[in-house]
Subunit: 298 residues, 2 copies
Amino acid sequence: MRKRREIVEQGFRELQGRIIADLEKADGKSRFGTDIWERPGGGGGITRLLTKGNIIEKGGVNFSAVFGATPDAIRNAFQIGAEDFFASGVSIVIHPENPLVPIIHMNVRYFELSDGKAWFGGGIDLTPAYVVHEDGIEFHLALKEVCDQFNPEWYNRYKVNADHYFRIKHRNECRGIGGIFYDRLNASEDKDFEELWNFSLAVGNTFAPIYTRLMKKYGNSPWNEKQKFWQLHRRSRYVEFNLVYDAGTKFGLETNGRTESILMSMPPMACWESNFTPEPGSDEEKSQQYFSNPVEWV
Amino acid sequence: MRKRREIVEQGFRELQGRIIADLEKADGKSRFGTDIWERPGGGGGITRLLTKGNIIEKGGVNFSAVFGATPDAIRNAFQIGAEDFFASGVSIVIHPENPLVPIIHMNVRYFELSDGKAWFGGGIDLTPAYVVHEDGIEFHLALKEVCDQFNPEWYNRYKVNADHYFRIKHRNECRGIGGIFYDRLNASEDKDFEELWNFSLAVGNTFAPIYTRLMKKYGNSPWNEKQKFWQLHRRSRYVEFNLVYDAGTKFGLETNGRTESILMSMPPMACWESNFTPEPGSDEEKSQQYFSNPVEWV
């Protein structure tokens, strides 16, 4: 049998390629640039960034596979000893230009120690400025369908995880309409590894169909200044979440990670309007309600 | 003798009023709005915000004086027991519209426990998008002059503090050209309290002359799109510093502080351009040099 890390590295690398092909096709204008980097301690990655597309204003689809002596920060986080580590993943954040197209985020990741312990983590979540109820249902149904192929309990469990994880506590709201979020799923046993690897790929493969459908549905819709303002306002909440709470971002910045790759999640532009409250009855206020009170979509 | 906390509360309240009067006069267009709030556990504050002025795009000058049972987060931070607390301060962040006018930040604060222990903290720092060397010297000389009235060692000590404190570690740069930063200066003895209170007021009183001079010098200078972009780019670094590192911001958000008052420090608009590097020899690159390598101004 091939080594797990080879399977994962190649699988994630190919996943990155497939997603990029689908996104470029759906955008129809810009192509992803390629920035190949090496990690001094071992491994490296491919940061791919698209800017100023037809629909995608700024989007990053990053792959990395790194290994070596386990840094102290990871030792502390995982409470482990002197083992070497291997970590690989695909991370995506897409900021569309049109306020009617949601921001989307996906991450699938694998972490392995030289003593054989291994974990998977990841998820997909959607951050529309304007929440369209039927799209929320369709999004969550797609995620439930992926989860249900593996375990009928996973969707509910990981959906609730996401509602908690993507919470902006100081605003008392969620950053979007959630999705699924799972972390540290134990893959030390071969049969768990196989199941969770297939699950990770299934999550990864559901990203492009979900998002390209939204790109097509709203990417060419007309929008106005009021909608643009609301998008820039919601983007400021995205910034706040990522810099204040997001575990991957904080961990990456604290451990001297590759700043430009970590912060590709930042929106191209955002605005902070103090004390802004949407008008009662407006579309903006209706969307705000979704962020304030997580919904049972399915 | 009047109680210390009454002296401090009244003094900071008056300082807020003086600074607002000077800023409104220098701006010449907008006035500061007033938002008076109460803290459920005791005390409250006055948040004053000016937006869309002639020169000030968004500026907050906040006063607060709060007291009561010491929250757990503060107990842990100060490693104290069951004492009650009193805290008061004035906090300012001004974001000008014109990219040639620097962002400025000031904070003066006092913290006292019911057992008589007391501390002062604070500082002023300047964040120009475009660093003008002579302005940097003048700014630091003004701070040195204030410090020298009290202790000839303070300017150097607090200048170095500021260079360390306002460092954006993940960018390997400072957010601006520093200033002075001091924290937990022991004011438990009456003579220390008196000296440090006078020092706090002297720092507070130097804010308006420093900043209104810069408003007058650059507030009406013409600027172009390239300069605006650079300002929005530098503002993104300001956001990153405040959300990732600033102790007051982090502490406020973690302890359920008043989010809109804490985050009045956010710029009205900011942009993140991936992998942006200023052109060699450009004014932007010259300014970047100052952020990358702190200067001995005096």
